[in-house]
Symmetry: D2
Subunit: 344 residues, 4 copies
């Protein structure tokens, strides 16, 4: 098979850099161009030092894209939509890692982001969450990479909602997020002496990724999300509180998860009685494409605590997108995503 | 004034060590004995290296307590109750830092801890949370130090419940806790390579400190607590989700907090529109006795996110107890607790 | 005693902020003004959240300084020298925390920093290291705060050089430094995702603080310094390798340190045979004004490994300066510097 | 090609666990047994949670080893030597990851470790550092895995000594080491509240890995090593101070490194004028088998600061051993070691 000629636009950021790392190890992707205005003509390893010895690519000008099979857009929110007519001429397959085309419901976009620059394009994108949207992905040429906290939340909650295991309407979600999710641009909030050691609530209400959760969770539930910045660089821990209906047991919850994720290679159910690794922990999945999902039921109240953990840059961004691309192209879903993570 | 001759039983642990540090800087406390079986005859600074040059005390035998004015018990849960008849002969004032005498409701103790070894003593202890239990503290000789996550939760929620600002019955509490809360004993869960970088849900349901929150929050609400271990050594971040009743506004919430904490020197209301320190963060209060409390209201749903931050060893344990002692003895509440914390 | 009316110029940085924190707790200092161009009219606690409830001061304009007894300059290197004629009219006592007036030897300044804007002033400043320069400090109105890595190094090595305990000419110094030493300004190097977890050699050779060590160490030795950035926010660990002359023993080294630091309240000799706190560790002195100093002798080679640890913002900057001021004013050297640090 | 049937003895530790992770991804290794007394019959993922979904292996009894092609020993120092007659009957190829057979010079072993239990076996082992000992490795059936700090030091210094670029006899080495190097056993020194944030000199002199450096560096130089424990979990940063002979320049140093490492796929020369990644940093190589090596010359003194960085569990232990095995078996040296590390 001829590998896809791949161009990464916005390759100096963390999302684009992570896509680049994974693409360089992917047997069917051939990265021919990586762009960055700021680092023009610098080796990509100047910014991403892990790629020393992996590639001789240098950053080039985003105004002069090569013809390619696949364009990956790692741009600030809004930019992909504004320039989309240019990109779509350059390659048949497009993956946009921004929030521009993630939502199917325009009203939700407007409520959380404001006016959409290109609402006409929304319907042509497939939301690139392979666990819950595989059929659409297989039939789309344009993929919209999912938001990292949305992915952690959706993978934790989807089976429950899909199978009617939620009793009350509201779900309370707390996402604890690493610093890389805020991007590569230095800022007062990200300055090491300020951020290191912080446990900082940065979005008590109104987190934009809430829109995706509402849009894709069956039944349009009331989703209350609170986001906390943590010491980690990579990783999201999601905890959610819901109530299961009367008459249902832990066994039913197990079964819902087991069935839903039976053939999903990147979701692992983690729930042990003993040991220090009883529940999902983002430390364990760092660098990998796994989403670990677990839960605990409070027997006398029916409260179910759902726990999920992902690496925000892999399963939360670039790995998730490559998994969707694998699906779209008919390749093994796991291609290029084999790294299992480290211990300790 | 003659300082109180003070004996600390169990001084090699983190709670006892923190009490020792604060007592050494307290003008009305004179520490005459610190006990530890394991470190018998070692200088206290062998275990607590910050105390080098602060004191020449050595650990002595807990079986041979000196006569004192004040005994502070920093023992594993259950031990203080079992030996209480011995301790009460040795000094008129006793502070127990364990969970043994925290609850006023025996049923709650039994539900969360099992059978109580000395239920007869419960009524004679005052729960040592000076912000919500000042009158009882002023009239008690025996003080029961409050649990750290309970203090973070109670200080965040009490004004709302006291003033009828909670609409639905249930409250969802997430506590993110530093590693010192698990104590000084090495363990697989606390081994640095395993714990460092972990975001580990360790009590999704059934956290014992829930009992205190239920016991002291007005109206005995339904409290759902989930506890997460974080990278920090010290510190608790508490977030809680409640709904305020229809017709109430952010102004009403402000007023409830302002009134309740008007004359409480160690609670600071933290809620800024701008900057990186908009909400309470345990990093900011490390080493200090402050509890920072803030909130954000989701206007269209009435969901109120309450946020509080404390140092689990100071406001969560030893500092809180000294503040209660100050109150009991008629000293300025802030005596010996002046350290403001560091930035950055 | 009337407290000194104190003005802090450049109070939004880490050095100025730390001086402010300590001055607010100092019984003989009354901070009347704190300046910052960027945060004009903001409360100082907007930048330094630990000072909430400690003061109502707001940042004011550095162009309009009040008359004062003491001006403290926390400015970028070079600025204090350029504007010195303005400052010296405003107050009789001046503490400059920058490198502008630290060196007594102009040639060393020129070699490490370039041309000096005001060489005429150098001789009128006392280098504010109270352990090695007390007499000069007691007689000076203008104090030049010492560099943080220079202080760690000088306190570790001075007694050896003063007492002829160094055999070969060269000393090899490695300083491991926290991120706050690079200042409060966001930068790519200080961005949390980049800096967290890094062990980054940032000055293999040519570190500017080398100049101070050469200038103040007896005998002008050959000093080779390598500087490494670490995960810590605060703290410097200094290790130095020297050789003691033939015929000298560990006892002689002990004696040299003991005698030299006999009456120095902020230097602690740390050298234990057992336990986990056998040598100085910056973790232990965080927030305190202590410099811990220890050593180990390799018996068969005469190599002496000297180890020292300080908090770069306290003993390395603001606390050290206040200690010098205490000395100058005839106050107890420890005034306002009592905080012992935390464990754990 | 038939993969090697591989048995890992002592698979619950960090060295054995890392070998297991790499072996599971290695196309020519088939792990048939992993032993652990403590975790008998537990899934290996109970201890190594990153291996969930990677394997169904359970820990088995080290007394009942299966016949195999390769035995990997991840045992406490001394145990492999004592039981070696048992192991050597079980498989033709043996990799010992302990210090038992690393040294070729018995006197050095005795000086640093004491009496050797099986000195007769020393000569039959090849020291498994593929960059400096490739010929011996290709001809040996028994490989002795190199020590982690020794590998960091040797890879930094070997080209200089091999090519006569060191002027004075002595070299001063500082190794900054992550907590995983101390092993998986909980201990007071490794307890998170004590270890987190520590910069702890744990071996100022006498570090055992010094023996390997002396033994394998050409010319048996005087090696002075000081070891510091850092906040990292994985990683070693090594800095060394040497002097190059008069008349040599930076160009000569470059050339020595370039020539020596020309065909070594896992050593990268890292030395940039600009940017935040100018020198080797263990953060960059985490999880990878790379050793990054760089240097800076102090022009006027001839002092050369050599810097190297590795992951102690990969290039410092398991990856290095697999690289040697690849060499021994005639496979591509990089087989199974492709992971490039992460950024950020």
């Amino acid at each position: 098979m001829e590998p896809l000629r791949t161009v990464i636009v916005g390759g100096s950021g963390y999302a684009g850099g992570e896509f680049l790392r994974l693409a360089l190890g992917h047997p069917y992707l051939d990265v021919v161009q990586v762009t960055s205005r700021r680092y023009l003509r610098q080796p990509v390893s100047f910014v991403h030092p892990n790629l020393r010895g992996q590639t001789n690519l240098k950053f080039s000008d985003p105004e002069h894209l090569e013809e390619a099979d696949l364009i990956v857009l790692g741009l600030p929110h809004g930019v992909a939509a504004q320039n989309f007519d240019y990109y779509k001429e350059k390659a048949p397959y497009i993956i946009d890692l921004s929030a521009d085309f993630r939502l199917k419901t325009l009203e939700l976009y407007e409520r959380f982001y404001g006016a959409h620059p290109r609402p006409d394009l929304l319907a042509q994108f497939a939301y690139a969450n392979p666990e819950i949207n595989a059929e659409a992905i297989k039939n789309a040429n344009w993929l919209a990479g999912a938001g990292c906290t949305a992915t952690a939340t959706l993978l934790g909650l989807y089976p429950l909602y899909a199978q009617g295991l939620v009793a009350r309407h509201a779900v309370f979600v707390t996402v604890m997020v690493g610093s890389s999710a805020a991007g590569a641009e230095p800022s007062p909030a990200g300055h090491h002496p300020e951020r290191s050691g912080a446990l900082r609530v940065y979005k008590p209400t109104g987190h934009r990724h809430t829109a995706e959760v509402i849009d894709y969770l069956p039944g349009t539930p009331e989703v209350h999300m609170t986001a906390v910045a943590t010491e980690r660089i990579r990783g999201i821990l999601m905890t959610a509180q819901v109530f299961i209906p009367d008459g249902f047991s832990e066994q039913d919850v197990w079964q819902a998860y087991r069935e839903f994720y039976a053939d999903k290679p990147f979701v692992r159910l983690v729930k042990q009685r003993r040991g220090i690794h009883r529940y999902p922990d983002p430390k364990v999945v760092t660098g990998s494409n796994y989403a670990d999902v677990g839960f605990e039921l409070e027997p006398d109240t029916g409260r179910l605590v759902v726990i999920s953990a992902i690496d925000n840059l892999v399963k939360g961004t670039a790995g998730h997108a490559i998994q969707a691309l694998n699906l779209r192209m008919g390749w093994d879903e796991r291609t290029g995503l084999e790294f299992p993570g480290l211990h300790p």
